[in-house]
């Protein structure tokens, strides 16, 4: 008998299941075969270790059951969310009651979230093997346990499981025995799948599950939607992940409309939503071009628009993702300037997820202008076409407007113009003190009716012109779901009008609502031309953020035509890449050209810019070395670089105009070489968080620079960089990344094993 044979009988020997002859044979083999003896001794040692481990009785933390029950109860919040949505959206109750209710529900919700927080860390649970996939070979009584050949974990078994997985994708649960678990394609390492403690919520959110599942059942559509290739690949290869939809707990969630059924979304997304394609900023060798020039801007619409997609359980089209708008959605801790319109802060440290690369985070913080002396002259131009009747459109516009009205002062004026349904002027320019009058005009807005041919936008500008507040903020605010039938037929004429009005001091801000024929590119472009901002409003809380905070600060413009130019020192920086700002590039000569239009920065606002750098002397830099046959001029510049500039890694220049000026001013800030931090963990929470945001943008955008990031890494990174997160926006971000993980992973499977 061979050693292998006897090894297979070790347990039988120890359990006394061998016959007397077999025992004798085994024991003599032990004596004669030292290898077998060693093996048996080691086997017994394993058993001894087992004994050691088995001796301890283990007890879970004392409050475990309390936390767990809190989570289970929290899963019921889904119901309250819906109730809340219903109440908010259906104006059935007076406003005071709604806000009281909202507060109450938020308090309850937060209380619960707090309780569960400690244990709500996510858990990754891809599964390869399930017990019931095995073939059970009954062993006969006399020779129990000899037949263990059937136990082999082979490649084909993994395949089989993959196959099972595909079968299950259809959503059919197998047996009703063991509860579902989450399954990931066996080889899939890229997107990990996470479950949050709130897993049981899935049963209460059937539509979201359906949405995710629908996404999977329609691979063709997925292709057409221009989804991120990584995710497409995952779907095509059936490297599927199953996750229960995670609505990561944030207060915002309370205001989010219930997800739409997939079939509608799919159609809608395919047909009419339009996003401009942007070419990503390339990585540039400093020796080829040391200057990076772009327009500084603080739009944030892309983030909330993408959030809408993710919350509805679908991936956003790659072109809807603009990383700089993601980054600038978040508040970072910057010092306010003293005696200057801007302060600049920068931080540089190794990139958390990229070996050998560095990130340079530049924060530009605008001064806070006291608002008291300047009045606002606002004209809201509201789209009331039939498509606006959805709950997340006109009703949300109305609520948003009321938020703006709340903040208006006696010296402010507001007017209301409608288009595409009802005739023109709803409310002539009215002082901010007459809130009742303004609110009742807002209430009287209703969607529907035939298209009115008269020029809504011209009327809006007329009223703005008539009520111009000199030195104040004069602005038309366009609120629409994407219908630009504003009375001017050609887009060029519209742009011309906006530009000419801008010159006379009236700016244009665009507020996007809803989905469907949403024209984000146009919205952004119009705001750009009108020297205003573009916001996408997907929820009441977003409306509040924009109209209470952002709109106000954006109205108090500190500077206009703000451009940034960063010059990198080739002595230290081998290569740089501007992250985001893909459609805000300027030519280097535009920087000093005051006729070139650029971004506006509002009072107290900050803009964050992120660069990825390869520093000289690193391995990454060596890989970028270019061999020149002929000595390049850049090398000469390098050699002749003044020694006293060598402590500088780069040089930040900001050019801007005072709001009333036509001539620009320049501010400069050197970036010190010795400020480079040694490790990501030595950088601030802000730094690491902004890195996580940019990585997420890169993944969603299917960026060529985002191939190596996994969403799980991003979650980890962001979670370790939440900081105080007073407004909960960073936690919400973590939730969104998890949502993105969940999207490729429809449904969960049930593997029956109850015999």
């Amino acid at each position: 008998m061979t050693k292998a044979y006897w090894e297979s009988r070790f347990l039988d020997y120890l359990d006394g299941l061998l016959t007397k002859d077999q025992v004798n044979e085994f024991e003599s083999a032990l004596n004669s075969d030292s290898e077998l003896r060693q093996s048996f001794e080691a086997y017994q040692n394993i058993m001894a270790i087992e004994q050691t481990l088995a001796q301890n009785s283990l007890e879970i933390s004392p409050n475990f059951s309390v936390h767990t029950m809190a989570l289970i109860n929290e899963s019921q919040v889904g119901f309250f969310q819906r109730l809340k949505m219903y109440i908010v959206n259906s104006n059935v109750l007076p406003k005071g009651v709604i806000s009281a209710l909202a507060t109450l529900i938020v308090v309850i919700y937060l209380g619960k979230a707090q309780l569960g927080n400690n244990l709500r860390e996510e858990i990754a649970v891809p599964s390869i093997a399930n017990l019931d996939t095995e073939k059970v070979v009954p062993s006969s009584g006399s020779k129990p346990g000899v037949d263990y050949n059937d136990e082999r974990q082979t490649e084909s078994e993994v395949d089989k499981i993959g196959h099972d997985l595909r079968d299950m994708v259809g959503g059919a649960g197998l047996a009703n025995d063991a509860p579902e678990h989450q399954v990931v394609g066996a080889q899939n390492g890229k997107f990990k799948q996470y479950a949050v403690g709130k897993a049981s919520a899935s049963t209460l959110r059937p539509d979201s599950e359906k949405t995710a599942q629908g996404a999977l059942n329609q691979p063709k559509e997925i292709k057409d939607l221009g989804w991120s290739n990584q995710l497409k690949r995952a779907i095509e290869k059936k490297e599927l992940q199953v996750s229960e939809y995670d609505g990561a707990g944030s207060v915002d969630e309370l205001y989010v409309p219930a997800p739409m059924p997939m079939d509608r979304l799919a159609t809608v997304t395919q047909s009419t939503e339009h996003y401009a394609q942007y070419v990503e900023n390339e990585a540039i060798l400093t020796t080829n071009e040391a200057l990076s020039t772009f327009s500084l801007d603080v739009d944030t619409g892309s983030y909330s628009n993408v959030r809408r997609f993710l919350r509805e359980g679908i991936l956003p089209p790659a072109d809807s993702v603009r990383t700089e708008e993601f980054i600038n959605y978040f508040k970072f801790n910057y010092q306010a300037p003293v005696d200057k319109p801007f302060a600049v802060a920068y931080e540089i440290a190794p990139a958390p997820l990229d070996k050998d690369r560095y990130l340079l985070k530049i924060g530009v913080k605008a001064a806070q202008i006291r608002a008291n002396d300047r009045g606002w002259n606002l004209v809201f131009l509201v789209d009331v076409s039939g498509s606006m009747s959805d709950q997340n459109k006109l009703p949300l516009v109305q609520k948003a407007l009321k938020v703006a009205v709340q903040n208006m002062r006696a010296q402010d004026r507001i007017a209301l113009v409608t288009y595409a349904g009802q005739a023109g002027l709803k409310l002539d320019s009215t002082p901010g003190s007459e809130k009742d009058k303004i609110n009742s005009a807002i209430d009287s807005l209703s969607a529907g009716g035939s298209t009115n041919g008269s020029g809504g936008i011209e009327l809006a500008y007329q009223i703005a012109q008539k009520n111009m507040i000199s030195g104040g903020v004069n602005r038309v605010v366009l609120a629409t779901d994407g219908d630009f039938n504003v009375g001017i037929t050609s887009f060029e004429d519209l742009i011309k009008l906006i530009e000419s009005k801008k010159r006379s001091g009236i700016t244009l801000t665009t507020l996007g609502f809803g989905e469907g024929n949403y024209q984000e590119a146009t919205m952004e472009q119009l705001a750009d031309k009108g020297d205003g901002n573009y916001f996408y409003i997907d929820s009441f809380s977003e409306a509040r953020k924009v109209l209470e905070t952002d709109l106000v600060s954006n109205m108090q413009i500190v500077a206009k035509d703000v451009k940034a130019q960063i010059e990198f020192n080739p002595q230290h920086v081998k290569q740089y890449r501007l992250i985001g700002y893909d459609n805000r590039r300027l030519n280097k000569e535009d920087f000093n050209n005051d006729r070139i239009d650029a971004g506006e920065i509002g009072s107290g606002h900050s803009v964050t810019v992120l660069y990825e750098l390869v520093l000289t002397g690193t391995d990454a830099a060596k890989n970028l070395e270019v061999e020149y046959r002929y000595k390049q001029h850049s090398d000469k510049t390098l050699e002749s670089a003044p020694v006293n500039l060598s402590p500088e890694l780069g040089f930040i220049k900001i050019r801007y105009k005072e709001p009333q000026d036509t001539e620009s001013k320049l501010l400069t800030f050197p970036v010190a070489k010795d400020s480079v931090k040694a490790a990501p963990r030595m950088a601030s929470d802000d730094f690491r968080f902004v890195a996580a945001v940019s990585y997420f943008g890169a993944v969603l955008r299917n960026s060529q620079f985002g191939k190596d990031y996994s969403l799980a890494e991003i979650v980890d990174l962001a979670q370790g960089a939440l900081g105080p997160d007073l407004d909960g926006q960073r936690r919400e971000f973590v939730g969104l990344v998890k949502d993105a993980m969940g999207i490729t992973m429809p449904n969960s499977n049930q593997r029956g094993m109850d015999h």
């Binding site: 090894e7 297979s8 347990l11 039988d12 080691a42 086997y43 040692n45 394993i46 001894a48 270790i49 087992e50 004994q51 050691t52 481990l53 088995a54 001796q55 009785s57 283990l58 007890e59 879970i60 933390s61 475990f64 059951s65 767990t68 029950m69 289970i72 109860n73 899963s75 244990l119 860390e121 858990i123 990754a124 649970v125 891809p126 599964s127 093997a129 019931d132 095995e134 059970v136 009954p138 062993s139 129990p144 346990g145 000899v146 037949d147 263990y148 136990e151 025995d177 063991a178 678990h181 399954v183 990931v184 996470y194 479950a195 403690g197 897993a199 049981s200 799980a712 094993m753 109850d754």
Partner: protein, 197 residues
């Protein structure tokens, strides 16, 4: 996890019926009743308290969510253990776990789950025990489940067979195979590094 007392099975079933009829908070009794046994099972498999707690919580959440699928044919404890093992296996094969293995956050020397100096068998060095733990997490799920139940949890072959849904012979063959595998993985440590003689 006693499954042999008739009374207990009945009362589990009773609790479940109450939960299913809308009395959600009754589930608390099931959590309290089984949290430690499930926790010890999971802790032995994953080797880290904090991870085990997360997993146990998720397991109870899943159990709660899927309670309506319980058929009252087997003991609740058996069903729950099965869920726990399945879920833990999926965690152990996850890339998150693998990353943890590589990273410093996985501390193989922690006394987290199980051992302390006072209970350490004189024959087993701490090193061996930790190596054993690590090797256990890398074992094929079926083998790991079997050795956890029979070797570490002290379940009878029959109990293990019930939980795993396989015949006793299969349990025994897997147990033997699991030990042989561990022996190979720990080979050097057992023969040269250990104090065994």
């Amino acid at each position: 996890m006693a499954t042999d007392t008739k009374e207990k099975i009945d009362s589990d079933a009773e609790i479940i019926r109450r939960v299913l009829s809308g009395n959600r908070d009754e589930f608390r009794h099931l959590v309290l009743r089984y949290q430690n046994s499930i926790f010890s099972l999971i802790c032995r498999q994953v080797g880290e308290r904090s991870i085990a707690e997360e997993l146990v919580q998720e397991i109870f959440l899943r159990t709660y969510t899927n309670l309506s699928k319980f058929r009252f044919e087997s003991a609740f404890a058996t069903w729950l253990t099965r869920i726990a093992l399945n879920y833990t296996n999926s965690y152990l094969s996850s890339s998150r776990h693998k990353q943890r293995l590589k990273s410093e956050s996985f501390n193989p020397n922690s006394h987290d789950c199980g051992t302390s100096d006072s209970t350490m068998d004189y024959r087993n060095s701490e090193d061996q025990v930790n190596e054993f733990r690590r090797a256990l997490t890398e074992l094929a799920p079926k083998l790991r489940d079997t050795i956890t139940l029979c070797g570490l949890e002290g379940k009878s072959y029959e109990q293990a067979a019930q939980i795993l849904g396989v015949p006793i012979g299969t349990v025994r063959s897997r147990l033997n195979k699991a030990r042989l595998k561990l022996k190979v993985v720990l080979g050097a440590k057992l023969t040269h590094g250990g104090q065994y003689d």
